[in-house]
Structures are given as structure tokens and as C-alpha cells.
Amino acid sequence: MSLTFTGASGMDADARRKQLSAALYRVARGDRPALRLVYDMTSAKLFGICLRILNDRSEAEDVLQDVYLTVWRKAASFDEARASPITWLVAIARNRAIDRLRSGGVLRLSEPIEAADAVTDPAPTAAETLEVAQEHKRLKSCLDELEGRTSASIRAAFMDGLTYEELAERSGVPLGTMKSWIRRGLAKLRACLER
């Protein structure tokens, strides 16, 4: 089984993070086995993210390939001081998947936001790093300070890559209302995260 970044692997999570950073630096120097290592450590996580956004296995497989080719080309721009390795990889995967979605041609099932929200709080994974766990906890508590509908919309937007229009449609509110919820929510979130 391939390992996920936060999955229980027997390896200390901080060591995994360091190993992943080191592998990305090697990829930046054109080291292909290092790319394989990055793939083995993160592909299940990134595939899950692509699949969640695209909701289509074949599209998600194409995007996953694209994601690691992007990692191969862009590894030189990874900087441990600016981003954690998994954040960097997740951002690439999400951006690729959302771009594919926006380019059209991907049919999406329309499901109410409540359904999307239901899977956002699974049991915490066993080997989450203390740091990641704390950051996640902080994010969660800041989201919990928002109105329920606002935090649900922000979560749905992030997890499913929905546009304002899609979010508004799914929640059955006017576009302007949805924009206002999310923008105010983001402003509050920003203030809370900076506290």
C-alpha cells in the first residue's frame, strides 16, 4: 500500500516531513528515484484530493499524472522555509484539478452542501504530526467561530473546488449572498488565524 502523508506508517510524522522535503530537493536536481519516493509517499493523498474535486476516476488519473510531472518540473521552486512539503504538493494537486474542472467537460454531480460537509470531520488520523494537528485544530476552531452555513460553504469550496455560482446554487441562495458569506467568512478567518 502506498503511504499517505498523515497515514499511520510506523514512521514518525516529523521524520516523514523531513524525508519528503529532502526528496523534493533531490527531485529539483533531476533525481528520478526521488520522484518515485515522493509519489509513493503522497500519491494516495493527492489522488484522493483530485478524485474529490473531479468526481471522475479517469479524469483524476490524468490529473494525478500531470501533478507529478509538474512536481518534476517545478521542484526547484519548492522552499521548505516557505511551505511545508505536503502543503506545496496539495496546492499543486488542487490547482491542477480545479483547472481541469474549470476547463469544462467534466460532469459534476450536484449534491447539497450538507452532504459534502458530512465527510469533512473524520476521526483524526493516528500519526498526524503535532504541528499539523495543532494547525488543523486552530483552523477548525476558527471555522467553528463562523456561522454554520459560512463554514460549511468554505469547506465545500475547498474540498470540492466549487465556484461561487455552484455554491450558491447548491445552497439555494442568491450569488451575491454566497459571495458575501464567503468573503466575510474569509476576513474573519484571517483575523482569527492571525490571533
Binding site: L35, D40, I49, E61, V119, A157, T163, R184, A187, K188
Partner: protein, 236 residues
């Protein structure tokens, strides 16, 4: 809460950065945000902030086992990219095809010029011509300057592949740094207007060179990539 909160964020581009990371922007807005990341460091920091903070939401997405041939597909795509990269220098230096064409190359260039004159792209009175050769001595491009010197037509004399690189043409007067004449096309003739300031320098003393640059051209105003062909201008 008042709208002041969102307005403050909007001014600093924070809101767009957050919306970009959240994923609610449409394709056009996403491209605009990506361009801004490239030129606005404060905006790039905002994007990084949100990626780091909102990234935690991704923990809630359950991992899914990728397809069994997932890695094999990536490896195959990398191998294809390798072959494309190797083909570039190979084309210039190694290909047996080129050895066969070696003797024909000056004829090839002459034929190009003759064709250009024939189709009217280059006036028969063109005072200055240049054959831009690759390191191997093969003709890469043929360039002809218009009679007034105000424009220059450059024609690829062989098949070139630059993948995602741009090809930029440089004028190098003796003892001077290269002056960019703009981007050219590996697939078709391009006519370039020579900037007025450079007009006096387009003469039989100058050299033309083509370099490989990032898409959009050299970011520094000087060649940053390898020079793939160069040649001296000469009166016909």
C-alpha cells in the same frame, strides 16, 4: 460584522488570494491571480499564507489508492519528455540526416533566399543577408534586411523544435552587448521591425544570433539560454 473587514482585505489583494486558494474563482480570474503571483511578492505571500492555513482542510479528504499503473504512466511521460529534449541537440549535432545534408546546407540557405525573393517576402535589392549557423555548421536560419534597414525577415532553414522555449533574435554590433530584436518562430518566417535606435547598427559588421529563452522571451534583456545559431550580416 461590517464590510470594512472585507474592504481592507480587498485592498491588499488578500481576498483574491484567499478566493484563489479556496478555489472559487473562474478560469479567467485564476489566470489573472497566477500572473499576479509572478509579479507581486506581497500577493504571493498572501497565497502562501492561505495555502498553508487552509491546506489543513485537505486532511479531511480520505486518501484513495491511485491506479496500479499510476507510476508507470508518469515514467512513460517522463521518458517521452526526455526523448523530446534529446532530439534538440541531436538534430543539430548528430543526426545522420544532417551529415547527408551538410554539403547541401549553403545551397539550402541560398534556395531559401531565392524562394523568399520569389514570393516577394524579401525584396531582390535586400542589401544585407545573414545565414545563422548552428555550432555544427548547419544553416539554422536565414535573415534578410530590408533595403532601408527598417525591417528584417528571418526564415527557419531547417526543422527546429524548441518545446516550451521561446527563440529570441539578437543583434550584436562589434564590441557591444546583444540587443534584442524580439521573438521569432521556429516554424515560419517572421518579419521584425528594427527599432530606430538600432538602425545604424544593422550593418555588415554586426552579428545575428538566436537564443533559447523562457516563454515570453529573456527576462533580463540579455540572452539567458544557449545560443542555437548565429551568423554575420553580409552584403549580397
Amino acid at each position: 460584522m461590517s464590510d470594512n473587514g472585507t474592504r481592507g482585505l480587498e485592498e491588499r489583494g488578500t481576498l483574491i488570494a484567499a478566493e484563489y486558494v479556496l478555489g472559487v474563482l473562474d478560469a479567467v480570474q485564476r489566470r489573472a491571480a497566477e500572473r499576479r503571483i509572478g509579479r507581486d511578492p506581497a500577493f504571493a505571500r498572501e497565497v502562501a499564507f492561505w495555502e498553508e492555513r487552509l491546506g489543513g482542510l485537505a486532511d479531511a479528504v480520505p486518501p484513495v489508492e491511485p491506479p496500479l499503473d499510476g507510476w508507470a504512466r508518469i515514467e512513460a511521460a517522463l521518458a517521452r519528455a526526455d526523448r523530446a529534449t534529446e532530439a534538440k541537440p541531436g538534430f543539430w549535432h548528430n543526426l545522420p540526416l544532417w551529415r547527408g545534408l551538410a554539403l547541401a546546407s549553403s545551397t539550402l540557405a541560398a534556395a531559401c533566399i531565392a524562394t523568399l525573393i520569389y514570393v516577394g517576402m524579401v525584396p531582390s535589392t535586400a542589401p544585407l543577408l545573414a545565414r545563422l549557423d548552428a555550432e555544427s555548421g548547419q544553416a539554422g536560419f536565414v535573415a534578410a534586411v530590408s533595403p532601408g534597414g527598417g525591417s528584417l525577415t528571418i526564415v527557419p532553414a531547417s526543422l527546429l523544435s524548441a518545446e516550451q522555449k521561446a527563440m529570441e533574435l539578437w543583434l550584436i554590433p562589434p564590441g557591444e552587448k546583444p540587443h534584442s530584436l524580439g521573438l521569432i518562430d521556429p516554424d515560419k518566417p517572421v518579419t521584425i521591425s528594427v527599432p530606430k535606435s538600432l538602425l545604424p547598427k544593422v550593418n555588415s559588421e554586426a552579428i545575428l544570433a538566436v537564443s533559447l529563452e523562457p516563454p515570453g522571451g529573456s527576462p533580463t534583456g540579455q540572452p539567458t539560454g544557449p545560443v542555437i545559431a548565429n551568423g554575420k550580416l553580409a552584403a549580397l
